[in-house]
Amino acid sequence: MSTSELSKERTGRPEEIKAVPVRRPGRWIAAAIVLVIAASIARSIVTNKSFGWHYVGQYLFDSRVLHGVLVTIELTAASMVVGIGLGVILAVMRLSPNPVLSGASWLYIWFFRGTPLLVQILFWYNIAALFPHGIGLGVPFGPDVVHYTHTNSLITAFVAGLLALSINEGAYMAEIVRAGIISVPEGQTEAAQSLGMSRIQTLRMIVLPQAMRVIIPPTGNETISMLKNTSLISVTAYAELLYATQEIYDVNYQVIPLLIVASIWYLVMTSVLYVGQYFIERRYGRGFSRAQQASMRARWLGFRHETGAA
């Protein structure tokens, strides 16, 4: 019997299968337990007066809090920009055949990943103690070209925070960027070189754009961590979001409501970043997957879209 005869016999669509689904009592029990716990937490949140919900409402849009939000965004953005820049430079140094460059990069990463961020912040904030006679830029052991007599006027709380956060971030970004660069097949570099492109052109136009696919998801996570880590800057009495709320509760003693205000704003900002990350990832996934429209819902359910190489 030939294939065409076979298919002719099968023109009628068979009956739709209606099977009895397997019973899964475990799922129902687990769901019930979770619901009970959630209900009791919700009840406590609503009934416990200490949450002070009306204070939360009162201070959520307080001008000092809003200013803190703004400062937090500024600090996050500035630190990420500088941190990513440092990370790219350090990653390229790390991959350089020059042992001095790669060694220096290794040392940097080792130091800044190996010490707590809070300690680094305190260091930068107190840098004046290290250089009481000011800071200058010039030839080692020679005269300064630029000189600031008052270290504290140069290293303000904002600059100290920016330095601490971005320099620390540079170390983490360096590892992320390096992993991205390594993920690009060597054939890409060779093809670019065989066309007469310089090393810098190859890095900028061929390697980094492809490395982005690997670099962006962890960078999104880094940005979210950065946003939260800016709260550590509150130890230097710099008016970012957490410190702004602290200043308010130092006066009115409504500690919990104001911490809730801060948390709400942190959650709002991180949620916005999640959405941004989704769109940026989609942009850089171009040319890597035939089905590019992985839905937001699928991502939230925890699926990673396939990124099979070309």
Partner: protein, 254 residues
């Protein structure tokens, strides 16, 4: 301008202690097509990569269009070339790889226009015009804005050929351009290469396509363990090989 496009004199290449090329001597004349055959690991790819400055040779002399490859000779000493000069020389040599190596984040057209605009400084419009023409010539006029993932292997390889040709090279190197392709896709790529040979391009082609070698090549070179075992006109090398190693290899491939 000399008539010799590529000249190898006793070329040696080592990777650490592994000697891969053990004294290659050959010449390719302008407008000639040379096909290289040989078993895996015999050093064919390495030799092509040396011609394109992707590897530095350790001994001997290698010339492209009368100029020393990778070094400058001032009479008594060799000086390594600066990266910029190496890049400039690479720009004059087209290379097509077994695995295509198209840039996956760019469309077919962008793949072809990138180097002319960025390396040669051709204007965007001029580059697009020429790229479109080249892509049409290899039968991909309708794939200009397609990304490589959405192209078949054969189409990708033809884009890669167009990309190399867009630099108006004086020499084209092909490293097993059809080895990664399904049999039914090989024909289109070989057609594009045949056309190129007819247009007078100087080509060195590493391939196991005996039919192509027989029809298009001016010279066939058989390599084994880092040396040229046998070379000559295709009918002679392919039909009546002199050397034992060549005989057994050709018997196996056919």
């Amino acid at each position: 301008m000399s008539d010799t496009m590529v000249k190898a004199e006793n070329v040696h290449k080592r990777f650490g202690r592994l000697e891969v090329l053990k004294g290659i001597d050959l010449e390719v004349q302008r407008g000639e097509v040379m096909c290289m055959l040989g078993p895996s690991g015999s050093g064919k790819s390495t030799f092509l990569r040396c011609i394109n400055h992707l590897e530095k040779i350790n001994a001997g002399r290698l010339y492209v269009d009368g100029e020393l490859v990778g070094y400058r000779d001032d009479g008594d000493k060799l000086h390594e070339l600066h990266e910029r000069e190496v890049a400039r020389k690479r720009a004059e040599i087209g290379m097509v790889f077994q695995s295509f190596n198209l840039f996956p984040h760019m469309t077919a057209l962008e793949n072809v226009t990138l180097a002319p605009t960025r390396v040669l400084g051709v204007s965007r419009d001029e580059a697009r015009r020429r790229a479109t023409e080249l892509l049409e010539r290899v039968g991909l006029g309708d794939k200009l804005s397609t990304y490589p993932v959405a192209l078949s292997g054969g189409q990708q390889q033809r884009v890669a050929i167009a990309r190399a040709l867009a630099m108006q090279p004086k020499l084209m190197l092909f490293d097993e351009p059809t080895s990664a392709l399904d049999p039914e896709l090989v024909g289109d790529v070989l057609d594009a290469m045949r056309q190129l040979a007819r247009d007078g391009m100087t080509m060195i082609v590493v391939t196991h396509e005996m039919g192509f070698a027989r029809e298009v090549a001016d010279t066939v070179v058989f390599m084994n363990e880092g040396v040229v075992v046998e070379s000559g006109r295709p009918d002679r090398v392919l039909s009546s090989p002199q050397h034992e190693r060549t005989k057994s290899f050709i018997a196996k491939v056919l």
